[in-house]
């Protein structure tokens, strides 16, 4: 048996742990620029606030119902996520973290899956304050279906064991609720009169393979209780790391863009170093606002390779700026830009270049020092001056809550 753990309204629930006065009040968490809604508490869902909606269009709703808005605080969410999955992971033989708020658990050999899930749910709630729901069934795809039902159930657990019951549920399950079926497939399938998961199961398998390729076929088999996807328990090193932003105010000048690209480079190489990894290549991209068809459109993308895989901020920034120079065109208003570090390998597998001129030990020490100073004293205390000295361009994070669990100066403060 496989169990899917899903944290309910995860970002909103994280905000609530340290703000009990917001229990039962509507909450929404906004994307990186305080632009769009990326998480909602049940109360906000009920009021009709939609996922991905630009918040400025909903001002009246926010004011009328006093919806509490938060900028996204990924330092907090990341830490709470780690706590939840540490607790969950210590209660099963193996597990796969699927996203920041979801994990698959190996439930084989557990005598009373329903009771055990209740026990885990209770424990996570008490230890962290995060409410979770758990769906249990024979395969990953079915555990997702169970998770969908668990969310709507009173005690947050759904255990799909009886095959008749499973068929019953698949009969009323819309196609786009199935794991891995996007809205595009769902529309395509509707043309053939296939509306529910059960309709799909009645189709000929060769036809499904033709329509949805082999991954689609495996998923359909999984709905028939035949396991095809195993738990991916060894956490692979990320294949690429991206840092990007949508700009609240569009960017026109090269000088400002190069400050951003420089800032992205430091962030991205910081992420790389925290994974103890090095990258072999870098890409830089930028584009104009596609939703303003009347303004001139442009999008640029350019990649280059490092001589030797690296995680050094200075080397990475230099090459990023080179890429930028290749694609930057003046006369456009850029809405989004970013950098991607790819071809990532563990640091201890880096092959040194024969013509290497930089002193790797020295840059290593420099980067460690920068990371330590910034870790202790706050972000960007030490940075390259190419990333700009004034902070006018700092990303919109007006409603950011404190990093309660990762910064001493931010811990919860109470009166007794």
């Amino acid at each position: 048996m496989i169990a899917l753990v899903d944290c309910n309204n995860f970002y909103a629930s994280c905000e609530r742990i340290f703000k009990p006065h917001l229990d039962k009040k509507p909450i929404a968490v906004l994307s990186n620029n305080d632009g769009c809604v990326i998480a909602r508490s049940n109360e906000s869902k009920f009021l009709g606030l939609k996922m991905g909606e630009p918040i400025f269009k909903k001002r009246y709703l926010v004011d009328k119902h006093n919806i509490h808005l938060f900028s996204s605080n990924f330092a907090l969410y990341g830490d709470i996520s780690k706590r939840v999955f540490d607790i969950v992971g210590n209660n099963v033989p193996s597990y796969e973290i699927y996203s920041i708020d979801e994990a698959f658990l190996d439930f084989s050999g557990i005598k009373d899956p329903y009771g055990y899930a209740l026990h885990i749910r209770e424990k996570v709630k008490r230890w962290t304050g995060i409410p979770i729901s758990i769906g249990i069934s024979y395969t990953k795809t079915l555990s997702k279906v169970a998770g969908y039902i668990a969310k709507k159930s009173r005690n947050g657990i759904s255990y799909l064991k009886d095959k008749n019951e499973i068929n019953e549920i698949l009969r009323s399950l819309p196609l786009d609720e199935i794991w891995g079926i996007g809205i595009r497939y769902a529309i395509k399938m509707k043309k053939y009169g296939i509306h529910t998961a059960a309709d799909l199961l009645e189709c000929d398998e060769t036809w499904i393979r033709k329509m949805m390729n082999v991954v689609g076929l495996r998923m359909v088999r999984e709905l028939k209780c035949i396991p095809h996807f195993n738990l991916n328990t060894n956490r692979n090193m990320k294949k690429s790391i991206c840092t990007s932003r949508s700009f609240a105010i569009e960017i026109k000048e090269y000088s400002r863009m190069s400050e951003y690209i420089s800032m992205f480079s430091s962030r991205c190489s910081e992420k790389l170093r925290s994974e103890k990894a090095c990258a072999r290549s870098i890409s830089v991209f930028m584009y104009t606002n596609r939703f303003k068809p009347k303004v001139k459109q442009y999008s640029g993308y350019f990649s280059m390779n490092f001589h030797t895989a690296t995680s050094d901020t200075i080397t990475i920034t230099k090459l990023a700026i080179k890429c930028l120079k290749k694609i930057f065109r003046s006369g456009y208003s850029y809405k989004k830009a970013g950098i991607i570090l790819s071809d990532i390998i563990p640091k201890n597998q880096v092959q040194l270049n024969l013509f290497e001129t930089t002193d790797r030990n020295k840059t290593d020490k420099l980067m460690k020092t920068i990371d330590r100073v910034n870790g202790n004293m706050g972000r960007d205390i030490l940075k390259l001056s190419s990333s700009g000295i004034n902070n006018k361009w700092k990303i919109g994070k007006e409603k950011l809550s404190p990093c309660y669990t990762t910064r001493w100066e931010d811990i919860l403060h109470i009166r007794v």
Partner: protein, 142 residues
């Protein structure tokens, strides 16, 4: 919930393996290497449940007799079971406070640790719950 189920928490030992502090040139190895131990870690000494442990800074004087002073930092463990007489971080109608938890018959009282203040009785219609148990209070000596 009964927890008669198997627990795999015990598998989490061996997280850190001490290794020799010396590089190994030819010559006589340090006789101390055989006695190498872990460094003393305050985290390991004080934190029983890392996933359930949070830090809180307090201001105010209602708990001075329990060694919780204005400016103290508290270590709060949400995994600990609450027993009569424990010091707890509680939420009363949406607000945090720290008090001593006492259950007398059907009634729950929250006692301050300061003679000038009186206990709070938790009434049925107030929304209150225990957030976590206060395990340690840290103060700078001077």
């Amino acid at each position: 919930m009964k927890s008669t189920k198997p627990s795999f928490e015990s598998l989490n030992i061996f997280k850190e393996i001490p290794f020799s502090s010396q590089s190994v040139p030819a010559g006589f190895p340090s006789p101390a290497d055989d006695f190498l131990e872990f460094d003393l870690s305050l985290d390991k000494k004080l934190i029983k449940h890392p996933s359930a442990t949070f830090f809180v800074r307090v201001s105010g004087n209602s708990m001075v007799n329990a060694k919780i002073f204005d400016g103290s930092i508290l270590l709060v463990d949400r995994a600990e079971e609450i027993k009569n007489g424990d010091i707890v971080l509680v939420v009363i109608d949406g607000d945090f406070t720290v008090k001593r938890y006492k259950k007398l018959g059907e009634n729950i009282f929250l006692y301050p640790e300061n003679k000038n203040m009186s206990p709070i009785k938790i009434t049925k219609n107030s929304e209150s719950y225990v957030w976590g148990k206060v395990m340690w209070s840290f103060n700078r000596v001077r």
